[in-house]
Subunit: 329 residues, 2 copies
């Protein structure tokens, strides 16, 4: 491995001079600076980032905390963050919290110990305690927060759009699956749908659910068609739950979308791979990741930031689990 | 933030003494050691990991390089690596190479600059050049290598099992989709299937493909049923391709599995969510990730390693795209 000493020797200057060039401190004659730079290039020298980060009190590491990368919504988010960070020369330290506060705390701790210069967190335990003592910028992703900069999709509007599309496409007896109580975005979309349905002239039922796991969702899907067999439209709390409802409806011999319409939430990649493919409300996960990264970079560079709370729009993705409407479709 | 100086002051000892306790070097009286430890606990002091890593020339960081986390096979792998590493106190620096050698090289470079103590790589450009100059252990994951320790599933056996199950379950005119030429595991499973079919008494066709992208796979699925309309069994190069074939077959009104049987490869999470759910060859992705992490940890600790090439078994997962057989099923 090439060291700073090798560079100094080869360029015929002192180690201190190479150090000044590297760290852009003190005076170095332009010719000397060029010679040092050329030598570094020639020898393929790369400064040790850890030593530099200690010297400058700055690293190029970012901490990214997700609930669980195996939940298919999150790889897109992570990829958005990484692509933007990679372009700017930052690297990701990465952890899954499993929504456990102890694991979250543990990761934040080790992020700080490794001198990260910023953190992006997409967890649900964003109580101030974990983050308030940090001296580095934090951006919450897929979560709202009054205290911290955040990037999220408009869940409430998403819920409203889903309900509106379902009513507009002719469902009269709608079942609304309420997502887990501790996941704020799930509650936002539920509220949006609830408000719209309350003001419409259709019948509707609400079924409370406690997770987004497919195995649990299969049970709720059975319960749904057992308890409300005349349901002709289901607003699911996310795409995984919608998939379970779709399976159960097909198993019961219901024709989709003629007998039952289904709308999911998220637009995870596999929703378009279902047969029939799933109509859903799209959250722009990749873009959300990119926006969070861009916002964090601005905060780290202390650039002026107009908007610390960035809300991205959601859209209705019309596929095969909803009916056509005559006009404007 | 609490510093080593604060600890020294509070405990009534010198900074050097605290340092000796921290780094377990030199002699410190047991009473003093206890007082320093208690004070650190009391003040909630945590040593700066970067400073420690520089001092000890060791960090607790591992580099993990994947082709693309948004490919649904990889989050399970990554999760396996992370869970094992997390248990042992290691943290992951993470990057996607997109199978681009420049990106791969760039990530390896920054991993080294950040003093990682080991690397796990699941990329396809494992030519020695990128890795041979490294002074830290490297484990290849989901890839075979003669030169480096590696953890992978038995792809060739998987291809054989898939072909065997398809023939055993009654298909007579099988189409075999050959995966991308540059992805070794895809070629292994193709070879395994090809060898079995060559020795069986069924007709079969081979269609060459160049990617695992769903949009491409949709085209090959159309081509497949256009060119070989009497196909009654499809061995797909992975689950994504199998999903495209399933859709096309359903669109053409084929009854699954009566008219056409389909077997995928990987057992990505969404394969069980399809309707009908997909029969496939399961690669134990999560376990592969864990094994790779455990192997790397052993290598880093210079513990004796019996087996540097760990091949995990694959299994046939019978779901709804294959027929029942009378005996032993």
């Amino acid at each position: 491995m090439v060291t700073i000493r090798d560079v100094a020797k080869e360029a015929g200057v002192s180690v201190a001079t190479v150090s000044r060039v590297l760290n852009e401190t003190g005076y170095v004659h332009e010719d000397t600076r060029k010679r040092v730079m050329d030598t570094m290039k020639e020898l393929n020298y790369s400064p040790n980032e850890v030593a530099r980060s200690l010297y400058k009190k700055k690293s190029k590491l970012i901490g990214l905390l997700l609930p669980d990368i195996t939940n298919p919504f999150f790889p897109q988010l992570a990829r958005g963050v990484e692509d933007e960070m990679q372009k700017q020369g930052f690297r990701l330290l990465f952890g899954n919290s499993d929504e456990q506060p102890e694991k979250e705390l543990d990761y934040i701790h080790t992020f700080v110990q490794n001198n990260v210069v910023g953190i992006i967190s997409a967890t649900n335990h964003t109580s101030k305690t974990n983050y308030q003592d940090l001296s580095i910028p934090v951006v919450f992703l897929d979560r709202t927060s009054n205290d911290y900069p955040s990037v999220y999709a408009d869940g409430k509007e998403g819920g409203k759009i889903a309900a509106e599309e379902m009513v507009r496409r002719g469902s009269k007896r709608i079942t609304l699956l309420k997502g887990p109580a501790h996941i704020q975005p799930a509650q936002d979309r539920f509220q949006g749908a609830l408000e719209y349905l309350s003001q419409s002239n259709v019948d509707f039922h609400v079924i409370a659910t406690t997770s987004f796991a497919f195995e649990d969702a299969e049970k709720w899907a059975k319960e749904l068609f057992d308890t409300y067999p005349d349901t002709d439209g289901v607003l699911a709390s996310n795409d995984i739950v919608a998939t379970a409802v779709l399976h159960e409806a097909l198993r019961l011999g219901r024709s989709i979308p003629t007998d039952v319409q289904i709308i999911g939430f998220d637009d995870i990649p596999q929703s378009s791979l279902l047969f029939p493919s799933l109509s859903t409300i799209r959250q722009p996960a990749y873009e959300m990741g990119k926006e969070a990264a861009a916002l964090l970079i601005k905060l780290m560079r202390k650039e002026p930031v107009q908007q610390k709370h960035i809300q991205l729009p959601v859209t209705f993705i019309k596929r095969e689990t909803t009916r056509e409407v005559e006009i404007n479709d």
